[in-house]
Symmetry: C2
Subunit: 593 residues, 2 copies
């Protein structure tokens, strides 16, 4: 059975040494002194590794069951959820007016990494609730907030998001679910929604469904979609639970992974719903929380890779097989441990350098979200909007790949469910699909975000890189050769791709769209290259200043060197694919496939 | 539920138009006229698509069950296996002396692709039997052959291969299973073997286990391993079944996929075994059939990608979502089909160009095996030995990747087991692991095969490319630009990597081994590039000669252009990774990970 140990030291390195969060001029950040953040993360590490991680395999094996219309979660989930509630983890960054702890989003992100690594399926119950909280918080009436948010912040009630229908996922304009106005100001919601995570379960007293639906005679397509609160149990004026609403679980889906989370088909049969925000503005309400939700999925991607890596590493140190070709390392044993072999090293270094780079990247993203929200900084908002599809798409793709690589270290045992490595890969797979499949992320990046506000944000991104390079030359020739030059080269590739799109996308937009997926990956590599250069710089300075933890910082630099030498050069390949244009991709008639 | 249609036309194109098999001077190939091969493949296509494919999901859902020491296969498997036996499919390329049909191995390879696409777990029962047949055929005594082979060729009895033990997989020198000589000339086999595919089941009267074990007081390590026949039921002199042997199924493994195949822990408790070939020469006996077995796993890799692609394509044509950015394609419908979108095209083209290239590559490998066996051609044997780790490693890695991509086309439905796309990915995953994990394939390629016979075979490989390029320039400038120049560039990258290994591997072998995985992939790309250039040439000539199937050949050329423009440039990335040497990979002490 796999283990999980929260990588608190690596997390604190990013928060304190790289981002230096307590020194940043952002409201609330002044409280994030090293001792405080360490205490929060250690507490979260304890809960997640001791309580949630042991339930991960159980959740996978048992799955959820639909019994008499009610979903039963796996053994132990309910007790564990009580501990999450008791610790206030679900409301870490929520408004204190509703019982939240008002911590910056960056702290909630660090915590969510631990939850995701320890038990992804479990953590979705609180994750979805947080998403629903955010939507009501941003767009609900004062009365709606007062009625629902306190119970959602505490997770006494949980939330869901209902977008997809059987015939429409990406293209929500095709939606059929109806919301008919009632005399009392509420709406009667009728339709079927699918893929509803945490759609029903036995861990909360009520479930607050957020449902997208169309009010009859509204604008056609996506512009006629509105957002509704549809509680499982209606709430009386005094806050107590009233009658059961007309909604039911049609079916529990059998999935490749995240078996511990209930993925429901939800049937709404004239259910009572309450409009959130303005009629026909449902998509806007959804989009305001999209950056956070998508960043959260990126976290899931690398969080699964983190726990898979931890276990692959332990196995590689423990399993004796073959001998080091350069000289026996374990003369008293029958063979050397796997970790002596270069190809096992390559595999482990790919995982390690990805996970640590990904962590820095998402924490940077979370920091930008805090800057945007807490300082109302439009530039930070624009930059994180640009980076969001990259965080979501690149980190979930690579996170899955790394889980598959971790599984490979185990040889045949990696394929046997008992060893737990298969679950990491199966669970991680969903992150590439939900919250907008990764092809949609690429489309969002190239088709919308690059051009947003006249391309201002992508220029700001390149400026960040150039100024970092400029400021860092003082670190000397070795640093420049190992870190700054590869970063500069990769950044140039990214610029060349953007230029190609600009020059060729006008005469044929497919010249841009056919390269969108490569561009998203290329962008991701440049971001991780920047993060590694920043981390290496922090470690370089720590060593120069005589840190008493030299091995830690030397390891950081060596891991960064791996990324720069072996991963970052992928940008050139992506560029060459992009520059081949739309022709190779679009040459065939659909009939000739 | 997914469908499978045997891609007979694409297969025949490779056999007839590209390899021109009936014109080759290889014993038995003169019978392979186009009508005959089409008849065989059509028959096989019927059986696999109509009988085996519908059992694929059932096998996945039901799995095998261990009941009172006996394994029960999923519903329908037994009846289907009777049809396979009746059709003589298991003995297609076996010796007619034992009831085989004596067809060239290339035909068995084409058939095995269909079996693998339709139902990978099912086809392993006959696949393992074929492997055991080959070992006994090559190394068994006349009496052993007469006793076992006729029943194995017909699959009345099936076979298994017992190598792995709990503490040793790759490093078989650590093996503990004992074979103690008995007075009657047999051996008493005692030990535990794991991961035994088809280790027990209810579809055959007897199971012939081939078991590696150590005779006491033999040479230490891998040189003291011998091969034994250990039947489930001992065979009487008259060929009837005698007493039950002292072996049992300890456990059925729960796996990520191939649930329809029984993966057993086998316990041998003084079981009666018969030595095959010479004592202590068990590994040699295993290695003689390694090329075929590993090529078979490469086939599984792309065969899963083929069936996954077929279904992703159908979904992409059927599912309506969004509109073509360059103009509406389905004005009467609520949206356009997915296939109009460039990123869906990219995804599909990657799958299509991989599968068709992989097919040509393995058929070429099978053709070389025929040349080696049927003409006793040492050069062909050397060349296919070089290519075998590439076929196994590259095609199983990419085959899995392509299944994951096919799953992605389905969006959320790809994650739901009911739709069947998850199974293709889960089943394909094992091909990267068994028959030597892919890291071992890379080690075999770089550490052994490249230098074999003084590097003669790799030089022969490059000569094949250069002479093809030389002979093909007459096809004109367009062909040269689109196909020959990229092939030449990729081949140069591969040569540069080989040169790097030669120059830097002597002072430190890790400089070669740290790049072995990249080298295997690079080699795979060059092979598929060569195959696409050959296929495009065949189609180019067909078009020039006025074929009446122009659309087919134009599609081939367009698909090849995709591969050359978008996939083959990966060689440059692999080269740059290789040339970064061992340092980035080996920098960390194991303790500092």
């Amino acid at each position: 059975m796999p283990d999980y140990t929260a990588p608190t030291k690596d997390m604190l390195f990013v928060l304190n040494d790289v981002l230096k969060i307590s020194t940043l001029d952002i409201p609330g950040y002044d409280e994030l002194e090293a001792d405080f953040t360490a205490a929060v993360l250690n507490e979260c590490g304890k809960l997640t590794s001791e309580v949630l991680a042991p339930l991960n395999a159980i959740g996978d094996q048992e799955g959820c069951r639909l019994e008499n219309g009610v979903v039963r979660t796996p053994t132990g989930f309910k007790d564990a959820f009580e501990q999450v509630k008791a610790g206030g983890w679900a409301g870490l960054d929520c408004d204190p007016e509703y019982g939240g702890q008002n911590m910056p989003y960056i702290m909630a992100t660090a915590a969510s990494e631990m939850f995701g690594s320890a038990n992804m399926a479990f953590s979705m119950y609180q994750g979805l609730t947080h998403g629903a909280y955010s939507a009501i918080y941003a767009h609900g009436s004062a009365e709606q907030k007062a009625t629902y948010l306190p119970k959602m912040v505490s997770c006494e009630w949980t939330g869901t998001m209902n977008l997809t229908e059987p015939h429409c996922g990406t293209d929500l304009g095709l939606m059929r679910t109806k919301a008919e106005p009632q005399e009392n100001g509420s709406y009667a919601i009728t339709g079927q929604k699918i893929f509803i995570s945490a759609g029903d379960h036995d861990m909360a007293d009520n479930i607050i469904h957020l449902v997208l639906a169309k009010i009859p005679d509204g604008p056609k397509g996506i512009k006629g979609v509105s957002l509704f609160i549809v509680p499982k149990f209606l709430v009386n004026e005094d806050g107590s639970l009233g009658q059961r609403n007309n909604l039911s679980v049609g079916k529990l889906e059998e999935k490749m992974g995240i078996h511990g989370n209930s993925t429901c088909v939800m049937n709404y049969d004239g259910a009572t719903g309450y409009l959130v925000g303005d009629a026909h503005k449902g998509m806007r309400a959804m989009f305001t929380m999209m950056n956070e939700a998508r960043l959260g999925v990126g976290v899931q991607g690398y969080a699964q890779a983190e726990v898979a890596y931890q276990n692959a590493l332990a196995y590689a140190k423990d399993r004796l097989q073959g001998r080091d070709i350069t000289g026996i390392k374990n003369p008293d044993g029958p063979a050397d441990p796997l970790i002596v072999h270069p190809d096992i090293r390559r595999n482990l270094m790919e995982q390690k350098s990805f996970v640590e780079g990904a962590r820095a990247f998402t924490y940077w993203g979370a920091n930008l979200i805090d800057t945007a929200h807490r300082k109302n900084d439009q530039d930070a908002d624009g930059l994180v909007s640009l980076l969001t599809p990259v965080i979501k798409g690149f980190l979930s793709d690579k996170g899955f790949d790394m889980c598959v690589q971790a599984q490979q270290v185990y040889g045949g045992h990696g394929y046997i469910e008992e060893w737990g490595m298969s679950q990491f890969a199966r669970d991680a797979r969903i992150a590439m699909i939900y919250e907008g499949a990764n092809g949609i992320q690429a489309l969002d990046l190239v088709g919308r975000k690059m051009a947003q506000d006249g391309g201002k944000h992508v220029m700001a991104f390149f400026a960040v890189i150039m100024s970092f390079i400029g400021e860092s030359k003082e670190l000397g020739d070795d640093f420049e050769t190992a870190f700054l030059n590869p970063l500069k080269a990769a950044s140039k590739d990214l610029q060349a791709a953007a230029t190609y799109f600009a020059q060729n996308g006008i005469k044929n937009p497919n010249n841009a769209l056919a390269g969108s997926y490569d561009f998203m990956h290329m962008f991701g590599h440049v971001c991780l290259g920047l993060m590694w250069a920043k981390m290496a710089k922090a470690s370089h300075i720590a060593l120069r200043d005589g840190t008493d933890d030299a091995a830690f910082h030397e390891t950081k630099i060596a891991t960064g060197r791996y990324y720069m030498a072996r991963q970052l050069p992928a940008t050139a390949l992506h560029l060459s694919r992009i520059q081949s244009g739309a022709d190779p991709v679009m040459a065939l008639d659909a009939a000739n496939f």
